[in-house]
Each structure stands twice: as structure tokens, then as C-alpha cells.
């Protein structure tokens, strides 16, 4: 065995050890484990719903309407006789998809803007900060209602409306995080070596701020689920017949006096999804940044 390969196998060993160490710490972090478990269950529910649900959500059976939860219909049925559990399963797809794409919009546009501002400073930064101020001045919900009402209700417009508000969140975060990395010695060294700002950003800045971005993405994801539910509830998000949690709550509202189960379960689904993601985010923050943990 050459010296080099001995070195390599040692490195692999160390890497495996840190990974194992990390996994052990993760398992001991209660927020992380509970959050991850809830999130995985909801993701699994969404995936399974693509090829199996207990009942067909497109089939209306008026004769079976407004059944209370029982052994067959564990969450009961709605006013069209559709199984609530199956609808919640299918609805989860929608919440996840909308929130996920909205986060992706924020990351894909916000992170380059933020890192650019940190690298260039001056005019670019000034413009970006004013843009941030501007977007933050519009209460997110107000603008989301405006956007979807003007360009028509529907999942796509809901995604755009929610996504726009993720842009300044990620831009601001990546700018301030990147600014703390730029003065570091290894970045200085890279500059002295003649690397361009873009290359330094990709090779040194991004890997160092990735942790923060992942945590924030988890939180924005949960906010996206809440926002989508709110928009669908006022009729501006996902349109029928596609089930969505917010819309189910809207339909439940007029029937709350005699069919409270219709309101109960979609609400619990939203709470669990949001709670799961928030706990996961909190747990990851503790795990990825031990310094923050001490300060909190």
C-alpha cells in the first residue's frame, strides 16, 4: 500500500467517524428526531398518495356524506361523501409542492443576489437593500392576495406569490452570512492567489453558508405551507377538484355546526406539517452550529 492510499483510507476513516458522531448527536437531539419523523411521515403520505389512497378522492358518493370518523373512514367523510383521510393524503402533495417550489425560487434568485451584494458592495449592495426594504414593506399576505386575485387564482400564482417573499429573505441572509466569511484568512489567500470573486463565492463562501441556508429553507418551507393553506382557504390557491388542506377548511366552515370533523383533521395536518418542519429546522440549527446553541 502506498503512503498516499494509507493517508486516504485514514481520511475516509476520519470522515466516517465524524459522520457517525454527527448521526449519534442527531439521534440525541429531540427537536431533530421528532421533526424529522413528522416530516418523513408527511412526505411518505404524499408519495404513497400518487399510487394508493384508501378511497378514490374524485368519486362523489352523496349517500355516504358527512359520516363521522369510524373504522372504515378513519377521518370521516365530507359533504360529497369523499373520504377525508384520502383527501388529506392527496392534499399533502399540493402543500409540499407549492411550498417547495416557493423555497426554490427564493434560493435560486435570493442567494446569488445576496452573495453578489457581499462580494461587490457599493452600488449593487445599495440597490439590493432597497429592493429588500421594498418587498418587506408589503405584508406578505396582502401581496399574495393581490397577486393571486389579479392574475387569477391557482397553484402556480400562489407559488409565485409566496416565492417572491422568499427572495429577500434568502438574499438578506446570504449577504450577511457571506460578509462574515469574506474577511477570513483563507478567502484572503484565495484572493491573493488571483481567484475571481465568483469562484471564491462558489468554492469558499457557499459551502460555508450552506448550513444557515438549509435551516432557513426549512423554516421558509413551513411558512410556505401555512401561506398556501391561507390562500387556498380564501379561494385563491389551489382550485377544486384537486384537494388542498386550506380549501378543505374553507368547505368545512359552513358545516362546522354539524360536521366539526371536517374542520378538525385538515387543520391538524397543517399543524403537524408546519410543526415538523420547524422542529427539524431548530434541531438542524443546533446540530450544525453548536455556537448558536449555547447562545440561545
Amino acid at each position: 500500500m502506498s503512503d498516499q492510499s494509507v493517508e486516504n483510507s485514514k481520511l475516509v476513516h476520519i470522515e466516517r467517524e465524524t459522520w457517525r458522531n454527527f448521526a449519534r448527536k442527531a439521534m440525541r437531539n429531540r427537536s431533530f428526531t421528532i421533526g424529522a419523523a413528522i416530516t418523513l411521515i408527511i412526505l411518505a403520505m404524499a408519495l404513497i398518495s400518487f399510487f394508493w389512497t384508501p378511497f378514490d378522492v374524485t368519486k362523489l358518493e352523496i349517500i355516504k356524506r358527512l359520516k363521522k370518523p369510524d373504522a372504515t373512514y378513519i377521518f370521516g367523510t365530507d359533504h360529497f361523501g369523499r373520504d377525508m383521510f384520502s383527501m388529506i393524503m392527496v392534499g399533502s402533495r399540493n402543500s409540499i409542492a407549492v411550498a417547495f417550489v416557493a423555497v426554490a425560487i427564493g434560493l435560486v434568485i435570493g442567494v446569488p443576489l445576496g452573495t453578489l451584494a457581499a462580494a461587490r458592495k457599493g452600488f449593487v449592495e445599495e440597490v439590493l437593500m432597497r429592493f429588500n426594504d421594498l418587498v418587506f414593506a408589503f405584508p406578505a399576505l396582502l401581496s399574495a392576495v393581490m397577486i393571486t386575485a389579479i392574475f387569477g387564482p391557482g397553484a402556480i400564482n400562489a407559488i409565485i406569490a409566496i416565492g417572491i417573499f422568499n427572495i429577500p429573505v434568502f438574499a438578506r441572509l446570504s449577504r450577511s452570512a457571506a460578509m462574515t466569511i469574506w474577511p477570513r484568512e483563507y478567502v484572503m489567500a484565495a484572493r491573493v492567489a488571483g481567484k475571481s470573486s465568483a469562484r471564491i463565492t462558489i468554492e469558499h463562501i457557499l459551502p460555508n453558508i450552506a448550513n444557515l441556508l438549509i435551516v432557513q429553507a426549512t423554516i421558509q418551507f413551513s411558512l410556505g405551507i401555512l401561506a398556501e393553506a391561507g390562500l387556498s382557504y380564501v379561494g385563491l390557491g389551489t382550485q377544486p377538484p384537486m384537494p388542498s388542506w386550506g380549501r378543505m377548511l374553507f368547505e368545512a366552515q359552513t358545516m362546522i355546526g354539524f360536521a366539526p370533523h371536517m374542520a378538525l383533521f385538515p387543520g391538524i395536518a397543517i399543524i403537524l406539517a408546519v410543526l415538523g418542519l420547524n422542529l427539524l429546522g431548530d434541531g438542524m440549527r443546533d446540530l450544525l452550529d453548536p455556537k448558536l446553541r449555547r447562545e440561545r
Binding site: R130, D133, F136, V145, G230, A263, I271, L272, N278
Partner: protein, 316 residues
């Protein structure tokens, strides 16, 4: 301080100006001709053209923008297409529902959040702390309109203590009006209280880690004396910031909650105006809300800088 104030004022004016442009442009690209919507599809081209002229829709874009902005500046917000009354009148009429609602919600959230936040920080790491923080996690995760529905079911349908929706008006007596505002206010306050309680706790913990706290402790003060006398005062700065922001957002948050309770407030006004394509109402109400957010932010920022001069150089 003067330099900071000038710089901050310039950026305030810039943000205000930009936001009016954004709102105006968004309204411009809205599909649908307001004149056509008012007159219906049976209208002839001449009547539509006449109405467009009367409404000033035939003027160039820039002229209309400046007309609108100068109107807003002197309090002339235009006339609603659908209600045929001045928009300022509509807003005033709706504000007497939304403003008290937001004030009650903010009061409730503060009354819940600050004591629980202080309690959690002072019992850091203990069961009380974990319990309170668990509850705040739940509070953030609960959609407020869902919570509102549950409260309607319990307090209006089953117990029949309060009405399920609607607003009798202040002339029907303060008690009756407050009765129809209390559930919406609780629903609005819930997530805000959860956030504020977390902010209070972490601000307090951060303040407790500062050097001057160590000095105070070394001086012989007990932990709780330090907390009340020194840490709390410093921790209040971020807490007040969040409260300032929350008030502005509560006004906007009423859009959904007012829909749950059929309250004739600002949120419902915007919502209905959007669906009826009553653009002048949307434009003016939104500009007022956005301007109030920007102004509150500005006030919070300069208070901040005044209280803590270190910030004058850092914040832009």
C-alpha cells in the same frame, strides 16, 4: 445622529416612492377594463369611451400616476367605482373595525408574550421553559383561521357566548361590538404572541450574557434583580421592534380573519374590492397599509439608533 437621520429619511422617501410605483404598475397590468366592468358587456363603445374619459383612464400613464400620488398626498384617494363614495370615506368607515381589532390583538399578544417570555428565560432549561417553548412552537404552527373556526364552534355554536360572525357597529353599544371582535382578536393574537414570546426569551437570554450583567452580578445583585433591573430594559429593544412590525402586519393579517368572521374591516374591503375590480379602492388601501408599514419601520429604526448610538454607523 443628524447624518443618520438624513440618510434614513432619504431611504424612507425612496422606499415610499418605489412602493407607490410598484402598486400603480401592478394595478396597470391587471386584466380587465374598469369602465367595461362597470358598464357590463352590453355597453356601446361610445359609452365606454365616455366613461373612460370621465374616469381619466384615457390620460397618459405618467399623468395618471402623478395625479394619483398627488391625490393621495392631500388625502384625496379617489372615488370607488362600485360604492360610488370617496375611498377615504370607505377607509375611515372600515378602519373603525380593523384598527380596534388590531389594537386588541396586539394588547392580548403582548399581555401573553412578555410574561411567558420572561418566565421561560428565567427558568431556562427547566420544565417551565421547555413547556412554554413547546407551546410557542404549536402557536406558530396553528393556522389562525383554523383556530378561529374552532373558537367559533366552541364559543359561538356550542356555548353561544358570542356571535359567530358579523359586526353590529359601535352604535349598538361597546359591549356588543367588543363581543364580536374578541374571537377574531384572539385568533390574530395567537401566532403573534408565540413569536413575541420567543423573541422576548431569546433577547433576555442574550442580554443576560453581556458583560454589564456580569459586572452587576459581581457587584452583588441576585440573578433575579439583575434580570429585572438591567437585562429586561436592554431586551425590550428587539421586543419593541417586533411589536412595531407586528402591528402593521396585524392590519394586513385581518384579510383572512375578517373573512372568517364576516367583519366589515379594511381586510375585507381590499378582498372585495379586488374581486369586484374596484382598483382605485385596492390601490389606495394598499398604499396606506404599505406606507404605514414603512413608517413604523422607520420610526422603530430611528428610535433604535437613538437608544443605542452604536447602531447609527452599522445600519443603513
Amino acid at each position: 445622529m443628524l447624518y443618520y437621520l438624513i440618510r434614513r429619511s432619504v431611504s424612507l422617501l425612496l422606499t415610499l416612492a418605489l412602493s407607490t410605483i410598484v402598486i400603480f404598475m401592478v394595478m396597470e397590468i391587471v386584466p380587465g377594463d374598469p369602465a367595461l366592468i362597470i358598464l357590463g358587456i352590453g355597453a356601446t363603445d361610445e359609452t365606454i369611451a365616455a366613461l373612460r374619459q370621465q374616469m381619466g383612464l384615457d390620460l397618459p400613464l405618467l399623468t395618471r400616476y402623478f395625479q394619483w400620488v398627488s391625490g393621495v398626498l392631500v388625502g384625496d384617494l379617489g372615488t370607488s367605482y362600485t360604492y360610488s363614495v370617496p375611498v377615504s370615506e370607505l377607509i375611515a368607515e372600515r378602519s373603525i373595525v380593523s384598527l380596534p381589532l388590531a389594537i386588541i390583538a396586539l394588547t392580548l399578544s403582548t399581555l401573553i408574550a412578555i410574561p411567558t417570555g420572561i418566565l421561560a428565560a428565567s427558568k431556562r432549561g427547566q420544565v417551565t421553559d421547555t413547556g412554554i417553548m413547546g407551546l410557542t412552537q404549536l402557536g406558530i404552527a396553528i393556522p389562525n383561521f383554523w383556530f378561529a373556526m374552532l373558537m367559533v364552534y366552541i364559543f359561538a355554536v356550542i356555548l353561544q357566548w358570542v356571535p359567530a360572525g358579523g359586526f353590529p357597529g359601535w352604535d349598538q353599544g361597546i359591549l356588543a361590538a367588543l363581543k364580536s371582535l374578541i374571537l377574531p382578536a384572539i385568533a390574530l393574537a395567537l401566532p403573534q404572541a408565540a413569536i413575541l414570546s420567543r423573541v422576548t426569551r431569546s433577547a433576555l437570554l442574550e442580554a443576560l450574557g453581556e458583560d454589564y450583567i456580569r459586572t452587576a452580578r459581581a457587584k452583588g445583585l441576585t440573578r433575579s434583580m439583575v434580570l429585572w433591573r438591567h437585562a429586561l430594559r436592554n431586551a425590550m429593544i428587539p421586543v419593541l421592534t417586533i411589536m412595531g412590525l407586528q402591528f402593521a402586519f396585524l392590519l394586513a393579517g385581518t384579510i383572512i380573519i375578517e373573512n372568517v368572521f364576516y367583519l366589515p374591516g379594511l381586510g375585507r374591503l381590499i378582498f372585495q374590492a379586488i374581486t369586484q375590480r374596484d382598483l382605485i379602492v385596492v390601490e389606495s388601501t394598499v398604499v396606506l397599509l404599505v406606507a404605514s408599514v414603512i413608517l413604523i419601520n422607520f420610526l422603530v429604526d430611528i428610535t433604535y439608533a437613538w437608544v443605542d448610538p452604536r447602531l447609527q454607523s452599522e445600519r443603513g
